[in-house]
């Protein structure tokens, strides 16, 4: 495997939608039917059945664009990159619907008439870095919510400018931490390449700092002062969704609001301490907007996802930006210590206002022998060890952290990691499912995060070997995604492993330049086998380029056959999907 892999500029698609009676399109689109193509001897798989193609046109670059009842195909055998020789455009990211009636060339672009509208499709040549910049700009302009970066909902389907000011995600903390991690890598790369004072470097720093501040704020905003971490927070003028546990701060106390969850748990009206101050540096994120502490509604019942991803961010900060902002570094270190102390003090759990463990932040050994915990144990044990390794690495201190680590090692925590593959198989066999059918795709990110840091920080050779072995047990389901967000940390953690960089590069070369969510169903694609599993789950037989599959959060199965996870073009996702992998790859010298 030759590194770095050189990324070349690639075509990026841009669709502009018009109504059926639009004046912008050439008249020929409505009056002259373009003849069906002759694909008789075409040497490559085509997305539509050959006999389904009804119209075609040739653009100036020699590409043949064709329409069928399930979308538009661009075929250009002279494209240098094999992957670009056949491209497919479909509802809803590229077309208003898939029923193509006519097609008409316009230079290197085309106009497409479908049952519900007219679309102008352009292909723009972009470098991988240009894509990163475009995606970042969109995220900062639309997705950012007081520094938190996960997703933003739209008032009008597909209209980016109609984004709503409010709206939260269950995983604001985790997703923002991932975004921040990407920006930390960006800062490190630019600093090395251009110098610390270069405007691009300073811009990267500004973005990274804001995101880190937003994440750290969640560790203080509840005012509990016990190292707890909120999932997210709302301000008083934001609607409170009926989704989870929310606490309204008022006069140094926080009261549990009425939601289905709080009613079910019987804790509506429960009050807890909220008197611990929020560091001013962090509080400015809402105070500068005119909110006070009493305007804050925080979300609890935080899961291990948040803690794990936030630890990645904090650890990266200390590794790569420690000196860039000493004040923030102090806060990062203090936060990390607070969290680990909380977890240890509460016997390896994140404790909610009730004094009980949150639903999904359970790292205690008793959980690991329960029916649910037995499968989770392989990942959760690694997460717990990772927090300890990370905090020791960040602080340079051992003491309590090392003692706790030794204790957990004596309980066999490290040895649980390599059991993941077989335990998960057993669970699936018991449920008469295939391994793939029962994957929680968010776990791919969590496992990658945990083992990446464990492998980068562990000094004991035997433990390192165990962690690497454990990391490899996840590759069966992770490697097939060809997602550098997972692959690059693996490579950084396990040097010498062979990866198919050409396949991984597709992620950068064929990602869209917008994170507007999009449903894309593969049903009807003639070149994509549907893979059927034991319990009936369906996948595509191979992972399609990112610009031909649905757009949703990164922690979804990219091989979904019928799109089930994206609610369609009603929200915009964060760019971390792309930017973390890109800047991490640059940082480690995997790509150039």
């Amino acid at each position: 495997m030759k590194l770095p892999y050189i990324l070349s500029p690639h075509l990026s698609r841009k669709s502009t939608f018009f109504p059926l009676d639009c004046k912008e399109a050439p008249e020929a689109l409505f009056t002259t039917h373009a003849a069906a193509p002759d694909f008789k001897d075409f040497p490559l798989p085509l997305p539509s059945k050959k006999s389904d193609y009804t119209c075609s046109t040739v653009t100036d670059d020699g590409a043949v664009w064709t329409g069928a009842s399930n979308g538009v195909t661009r075929a250009c055998l002279s494209e240098k990159n094999k992957l670009d020789r056949v491209m497919f455009f479909s509802f809803e990211r590229d077309l208003p619907d898939n029923d193509v009636r006519n097609i008409c060339s316009d230079g290197n672009s085309v106009w497409v008439l479908t049952a519900k509208g007219v679309t102008h499709i352009e292909l723009i040549m972009l470098t991988a870095e240009e894509r990163a910049d475009i995606l970042l700009e969109e995220t900062l302009r639309i997705v950012d919510r007081r520094g938190m970066v996960s997703q933003k909902h739209l008032a009008e389907r597909g209209d980016l400018d109609s984004f709503l000011p409010h709206g939260h995600s269950d995983n604001d903390g985790g997703f923002t931490a991932v975004f921040a991690s990407g920006e930390i890598f960006r800062y490190a790369v630019l600093k090395k390449e251009k110098g610390a004072d270069h405007p691009d470097t300073l811009s990267a720093k500004e973005v990274a700092v804001r995101a880190v501040e937003a994440v750290l704020l969640l560790m203080y905003i509840h005012g509990r002062g016990d190292g707890f971490v909120a999932r997210t927070y709302l301000c008083a003028d934001e609607p409170v969704p009926d989704d989870g546990l929310f606490f309204r701060k008022q006069g140094g106390r926080a009261t549990c609001l009425e939601t289905s969850d709080s009613k079910a748990r019987g804790i509506v009206g429960l009050t807890v301490d909220a008197s611990s101050p929020v560091p001013e540096r962090l509080a400015k994120l809402y105070k500068d907007l005119g909110y006070t502490d009493d305007d804050i509604i925080y979300k609890a019942d935080t899961s291990s996802d948040e803690i794990t991803l936030e630890f990645v961010m904090m650890w990266l900060w200390c590794r790569l930006m420690r000196d860039a902002d000493p004040e923030l570094t102090s806060l990062v270190i203090e936060s990390a210590k607070n969290i680990v102390n909380h977890i240890i003090d509460n016997r390896f759990r994140l404790t909610d206002a009730t004094g009980e463990s949150t639903t999904w932040a359970r790292w205690y050994p008793e959980y690991f022998v329960t029916e649910d915990g037995w499968d989770d144990a392989c990942l959760n044990s690694a997460q717990m060890l990772m927090y300890l390794n990370a905090v020791m690495d960040m602080t340079g201190e051992e003491g309590r952290w090392q003692e706790t680590k030794d204790y957990l090692l004596s309980l066999g925590y490290a040895d649980l990691g390599p059991k993941h593959f077989d335990r998960h198989t057993a669970v699936c066999d018991a449920g008469d499912e295939d391994f793939i059918e029962n994957i929680m795709y968010g776990d791919h990110m969590l496992a990658t995060a945990a083992f990446y840091i464990l492998c980068r920080t562990e000094k004991d050779e035997n433990l390192l070997s165990t962690y690497r072995k454990a990391f490899s047990t996840w590759r069966f389901s992770i490697a097939r995604e060809f997602n550098p967000t997972y692959d690059f940390p693996y490579l950084a953690a396990c040097p010498g492993e062979e990866l198919d960089m050409e396949r991984i590069a597709v992620y950068f070369e064929r990602s869209n330049i917008s994170r507007l969510a999009s449903e894309v169903s593969l049903v009807g694609r003639h070149d994509v086998p549907v893979k059927k599993y034991r319990a009936g789950y369906k996948e595509s037989g191979y992972v399609l380029p990112p610009d031909e599959r649905f757009i949703s959060k990164v922690d979804r199965n990219p091989l979904q056959y019928k799109n089930e996870d994206s609610s369609g073009a009603m929200c915009v996702e964060s760019c971390y999907y792309y930017t973390l992998a890109y800047w991490m790859g640059r940082f480690y010298g995997f790509i150039e």
Binding site: P45, L46, T425, D429, G541, V543
Partner: protein, 828 residues
């Protein structure tokens, strides 16, 4: 937590072993009847039984009994296991054979019982390839029970429970029976219970105890069942319950089970089984290959020319082949008379293949445009004779069964003065001595280039038998006969010693020497007195009796296409003739061997010594390969084995065979075990005086090839050469006609060399959907495109290392990826 001993009532049934199949069939009937009786007598008793072939026998011979069994299966009292036709040898069948074992068996179980088997179960099979976990999973099963090798034979294998992984990522929870599959009688059962109590305690999980009279059937007796019932009622740390393997495994996975991981194959138990009785080995290899290729061609002509799909005939033929893969049959350790039945049923299977293939070839050939203006004007008998047409060249269509392009010598049974391709370009040919002594004495061999699963048209010009016609085009083939005989072709130069008939030198064009000692390819005889037919307890055949003595060596052919050196060696009353053939453009030497073997209790090996260090041997296994240390142990393998080592850079030699399954590699000498002349069914070598019959006595014909390479073994190349060595393109003479087909055509395209298509067939459900099966061969993850215009299908797919994929293609070319069962249970 209290652990349980799961009592698995079973009857080990060998349909052939020390008896012929007819007796085996009777044994099955009696056993099944007995089991039904016991089930009716004892409410808790559960009976476990494998092998769809046995159920089919019972269904056909005693429908009333079968009806009772169906009810018992429905009630969960009778548990079918192992969704394969019988309990096959698990080292020698091809990957495609395992797919067929599952296909015909699981669909049978599904049709008859409304369920498929969950547990793979080969308790007597003598070794288990590392690909088994994948083959089991893709057969629709989740768990596995095996027994051999046992704890003493391979103590490294975790026992009794472990997760077994294969390279594609498949894993199955596997149980190695620690104390036999056929406990019967109070004393034996008591011992087993005590042992299993101890085992359960040590491993901290439930265990299984297998009881019931076995081998020649029988099953649990009343006495055994009643004794076990009495044990059940006793208190103890370990519970006892009547159970089945399915229930046992499901108890484990539901309760959460951690078990050690095993990532290797499971060897060795009976190392002699891979070389005993060459007849059955050769028949199996040939039948597997022929059925595969014939079914592909039948699919082609059925799709394109509306010829009937022979799916049912192929299924019937495959079931014969699957049956003969039973471990005591394919392993060559049954009685002599049983192999008459094997020969007949394999013959049936191959006749099905031959007829279907010939029908397909003639159907296609008859539609190729071969018309020559004026050809119908010929009037004399001589002019009209197929190969004696003096005015016009004769069209010959060459068919390639493989999913990759092939360029190899092919043979027609007539001499020629010139051979041209469809573009009228001359191709290399040579008239060579035929096998007949009638009519002309010469055949034509010419180099044909044929696309993947396709054909190419060639034109052959007639000549008289005694003419010395040669191609006018240049060739780099050369030969000389001096102090040594030398043959070469620009890629290889091969020298033969006139003192012992060995290959004294093989050099590649860059000067690399591959022959590492003076016995390269020199037939060598080893002692086989001590091993029984199975070679129980013996893992190396290394007691050398001597090299065979050179009787003659001569350069028998030297032309532009090829050179042939013939050696004859003798030993005692035996003789072996080897024709070493080096053809133009080939980077391997092909060796046709014929032995007349008359040495009792001997082994004939062909050695391939190479010089260097850091040897590693690699062997083809069903649908994959495995690397092994060069420690001299006898290793099972399929069509090829390789030795690679270091001597100023890595290099090595791959050896292909058409019919052999056993190799050894002591340090830097790879050896092909070609003949092993044991007594039939000689069990633990108890040999009262008798005039014995021997497994490999008489005429033995086999072929092998020596393929030198630089660098470490190129598995992808080895696999392709192995396939090509077995599935050679076939030259079919055809007539003159105005046809619609072009002079060359391919019916399938795969865009990467690592992926091999092993089956193109119709789906068993009669829907008209087609099935394509392909596998990754190099051991690396890859994306591959398969394009098959006749099915209107073109698609990509991602493969895990050594993964086998089965695609079901509907009539519109839409593709579903499924498993060996073709999505039939799911669709139902």
């Amino acid at each position: 937590m209290k652990r349980n001993i799961h009592l698995i009532g079973n009857a080990h049934l060998d349909p052939i072993w020390l008896w012929r199949w007819q007796e085996g069939c009777g044994e099955v009937l009696q056993t099944f009847r007995s089991a039904v009786d016991r089930l009716n007598e004892y409410d808790d008793f559960i009976f476990t039984c494998s092998s769809a072939a046995y159920y089919k026998w019972v269904e056909d011979t005693d429908p009333a009994l079968f009806a009772q069994i169906k009810e018992l299966v429905k009630a969960g009292r009778w548990v079918p296991v192992n969704g394969w036709w019988i309990q096959p040898d698990c080292n020698m069948p091809s990957g495609e054979s395992f797919a067929r074992q599952a296909l015909y068996s699981q669909l049978y179980y599904y049709e008859k019982f409304g369920r498929i088997c969950k547990t793979g179960y080969n308790v007597d099979s003598f070794g288990h390839s590392r690909m088994l976990p994948q083959l089991i999973r893709k057969s629709g099963m989740k768990y596995y029970v095996m027994m051999r090798p046992d704890l003493t034979e391979n103590p490294s294998v975790p026992s009794p429970l472990f997760w077994w992984h294969s390279p594609d990522g498949s894993n199955v929870l596997t149980y190695r029976i620690p104390n036999g599959y056929a406990r019967d009688g109070v004393k034996s059962i008591d011992e087993a219970v005590e042992f299993m109590e101890d085992t359960a305690l040590k491993c901290g999980s439930d265990v299984m105890l297998f009881y019931g009279v076995g081998n020649h059937g029988g099953g649990p007796t009343k006495g055994d069942i009643e004794h076990l019932i009495s044990l059940k009622e006793k208190d103890g740390d370990t519970g006892i319950k009547f159970s089945s393997p399915d229930e046992y495994f499901e108890t484990l996975v539901r309760s959460g089970i951690d078990a050690p991981v095993w990532e290797d194959d499971l060897q060795h138990h009976a190392s002699g089984c891979y070389s005993a009785t060459s007849l059955v080995k050769g028949l199996n290899r040939k039948a597997e290959a022929w059925l595969q290729s014939a079914e592909k061609w039948n699919t082609v002509v059925s799709k394109l020319f509306d010829r009937p799909a022979r799916t049912a005939e192929f299924a019937d033929a495959w079931r014969k082949v699957c049956f003969n893969q039973f471990h005591d049959i394919l392993c060559g350790c049954s009685i002599m008379e049983a192999y008459d039945d094997v020969r007949d049923s394999e013959g049936y299977a191959m006749t099905v293949a031959a007829e279907a293939e010939n029908n397909a070839f003639l159907t296609i050939a008859g539609r190729i445009d071969t018309w020559l203006d004026g050809v119908s004007d010929t009037v004399t008998c001589r002019e009209r004779h197929h190969f004696h047409n003096e005015k016009y060249p004769r069209p010959v269509v060459v068919f390639n069964h493989n999913s990759f392009d092939a360029e190899v010598p092919v043979r027609t049974y007539h001499p020629s003065s010139k051979v041209v391709n469809s573009k009228n370009e001359e191709v290399l040919f040579q008239n060579v001595r035929s096998s007949r002594s009638n009519d002309s004495h010469k055949d034509t061999v010419f180099i044909a280039k044929v696309p993947a699963l396709g054909y190419s048209l060639y034109w052959l010009y007639w000549c008289t038998d005694d003419s010395a016609d040669e191609p006018t085009i240049d060739s780099d083939v050369f030969a000389s006969d001096g102090g040594e005989i030398t043959i070469g072709n620009g890629k290889l130069t091969v020298k033969f010693s006139k003192s012992n008939g060995a290959v004294s030198s093989i050099k590649s064009a860059d000067g690399r020497e591959f022959s590492g000692a003076d016995n390269f390819c020199l037939p060598t005889v080893y002692n086989n007195e001590k091993p029984d037919t199975w070679a129980h307890g013996i893992f190396k055949f290394d007691e050398k009796l001597g090299d065979m003595n050179l009787k003659s060596i001569e350069l028998v052919e030297s032309g532009k296409l090829r050179s042939v050196v013939r050696t004859k060696h003798t030993y005692g009353n035996s003789i072996i003739t080897q024709d070493f053939i080096l053809s133009a453009g080939m980077d391997y030497i092909r060796v046709k061997a014929k032995a007349i073997w008359q040495e009792p209790l001997t082994i004939l090996k062909i050695p391939f010594p190479v010089k260097g260090t850091d040897c590693i041997s690699t062997y083809e296994v069903p649908a994959g390969f495995i690397k092994r240390p060069c420690n001299g142990e006898e290793e099972p393998a399929l069509k090829w084995a390789d030795i690679s080592l270091d001597d100023n850079g890595r290099y090595g030699v791959t050896v292909l065979t058409d019919s052999k399954y056993s190799y050894s590699c002591p340090e830097n000498e790879l050896r092909l075990t070609a003949i092993r002349n044991s007594i039939f069914a000689d069990h633990y070598s108890n040999r009262p005086p008798a005039d014995f019959n021997y497994c490999d006595e008489g005429v033995q014909r086999f072929e092998y090839a020596v393929c030198p390479h630089t660098g470490d073994v190129d598995v992808c190349r080895a696999v392709r050469l192995g396939e090509l060595f077995l599935n050679r393109p076939v030259a079919v003479p055809c007539g003159y006609q105005k046809g619609s087909l072009p002079p060359g055509m391919s019916f399938i395209t795969v865009d990467v060399p690592d992926v091999l298509v092993t089956a193109v067939k119709f789906c068993e459900d009669g829907s008209g959907d087609a099935v394509i099966r392909a596998r990754e061969t190099s051991g690396k993850a890859v994306r591959a495109m398969i394009k098959c215009d006749m099915l209107e299908a073109a698609f990509y797919s991602d493969y895990y290392p050594l993964e086998i994929k089965t695609f079901r293609v509907d009539k519109d070319g839409y593709v579903t990826e499924t498993d060996f069962l073709e999505d039939i249970p799911a669709n139902a």
